[in-house]
């Protein structure tokens, strides 16, 4: 009788130990999971790191913006520099952009602020379509066979001078650059942690914008 009681008691104790061990195991497993999920949630900033974002904004294709510059060049008489020989209209494309390699990016995970500084916008290329030249001659003698060669050079000079001094080209290219950077970063961080704030500015420009 005592033996049976002893065996039953031993089995109960054994089962209880197993049950407690199972519970402890699950509690430990749960704790580990909670801790890790806490870290990974808290660490959504870990995805929002400088290197990740640098990879995201590495978009050389999207760093150039095209402006249409269909203009008129005035060509003066070589012997009488105050007299106009002819006006020539041309169609040109002006490319403005920034160097992707020089984009500066900072991530402040404590303040949850991402700052991007785009380098100065520069004119990167000019194409004048020689087939587009059209003339108004003020001096009929200027209408010679060599006129297109001279006119083409004058058109290139004109578009170079005009576009480099045209603030609107830089301003619009700068705004487009900001929009591209914002489009690349904002929707992405919005889904990971919408507390983050993105600030994009152009090097040398005073105005900066908060984009989130």
């Amino acid at each position: 009788m005592n033996d049976k009681k002893g065996i039953k008691g031993f089995r109960t104790k054994y089962l209880m130990m197993i049950a407690i061990a199972v519970v402890i195991l699950f509690v430990v497993a749960l704790s580990v999971k909670v801790v890790f999920s806490g870290i990974s949630k808290k660490d959504s900033p870990e995805i929002i790191t400088k290197s990740t974002l640098e990879k995201i904004i590495n978009i050389s294709d999207l760093s150039t913006f095209e402006a249409v510059y269909n203009g008129i060049a005035k060509v003066m008489n070589e012997k009488k520099p105050d007299k106009v020989d002819y006006y020539v209209s041309y169609e040109a494309k002006v490319r403005a952009g920034f160097d992707v390699e020089r984009v500066e990016l900072d991530v402040d995970n404590d303040k949850k602020v991402i700052s991007v500084t785009i380098p100065e916008i520069k004119i990167t290329g000019i194409d004048v379509d020689i087939a587009s030249l059209d003339y108004i001659f003020m001096n009929d003698k200027a209408n010679e066979s060599t006129v297109s060669e001279q006119a083409y050079k004058k058109c290139i000079e004109d578009v170079e001078n005009e576009s480099s001094s045209e603030n609107a080209i830089y301003t619009l290219a700068g705004q487009n650059a900001k929009d591209v950077i914002t489009a690349l970063i904002n929707p992405f961080i919005e889904q990971l942690d919408d507390d983050y704030e993105l600030t994009v500015k152009i090097e040398g420009a005073d105005n900066n914008e908060k984009n989130n």
């Binding site: 999207l62 510059y69 690349l184």
Partner: protein, 205 residues
């Protein structure tokens, strides 16, 4: 005692269920979203500097018989043309690792002539032209805006550039989200204009 053991085991099973359930919920949170796509399309809209020459040429504009004269002059002006994708027509469907994006063609969304660029120097009048008076300049100025829209609409390279820009930004977003959740998304484009569908595995075509 058995009751205590049963309770402990039930607790363990419940703990396990709760732990597994939470994980699935978290994974569903990040996938390419329609609202983000629309935001990207809005930001992909390009404001293009547009410097243009409007040419005015009217034959026999003044005089009579042998004294007839044409009226010919050019106007140089500048403005801004806004080109982009209509974000309201963009749609997204995510099925496993295939992201189907429905996208319309890029179009001219706006056009504005900068009146300050129209000065006396903007008008170039041909040597033997009939007189150009204020009314002709006003007429030409009104035509300038319409011509600018027309010129931009016919500039296929500019439109293609805007289309490509929007698609590249959208694709980059999808790929970034994929990398974040360990998925390799494949982007499939449906173009609203001609209803053609094409697979895009390596980028924009």
């Amino acid at each position: 005692m058995k009751k205590i053991i049963n309770v402990l085991l039930i607790m363990a099973v419940c703990t396990m269920c709760v732990a597994c359930g939470k994980d699935e919920m978290q994974q569903k949170e990040i996938e390419p979203g329609a609202s983000q796509m629309k935001t990207i399309c809005e930001l992909a809209t390009m404001d293009c500097y547009y410097h243009n020459v409007a040419k005015y040429n009217k034959e026999d504009a003044s005089g009579a018989l042998w004294w007839k004269k044409d009226r010919e002059f050019w106007i140089e002006y500048a403005g801004v043309v806004t080109i982009g994708i209509d974000a309201t027509q963009v749609n997204i469907n995510v099925e496993e690792n295939i992201v189907t994006i429905t996208i319309p063609a890029a179009e001219i969304l706006g056009c504005k002539v900068d009146a300050s660029t129209l000065t006396k120097d903007s008008f170039i009048v041909a040597k033997d032209s009939a007189d150009v008076e204020a009314e002709h300049e006003t007429e030409a100025f009104q035509e300038a805006q319409a011509k600018m829209i027309q010129a931009a609409s016919e500039d296929t390279a500019l439109l293609a550039n805007a289309q490509q820009r929007a698609q590249e930004l959208l694709e980059k977003y999808v790929k970034n989200v994929g990398e974040c959740v360990g998925k390799e998304y494949q982007v499939k484009w449906i173009y609203l204009e001609d209803n053609s569908e094409m697979n895009d595995e390596n980028g924009i075509e």
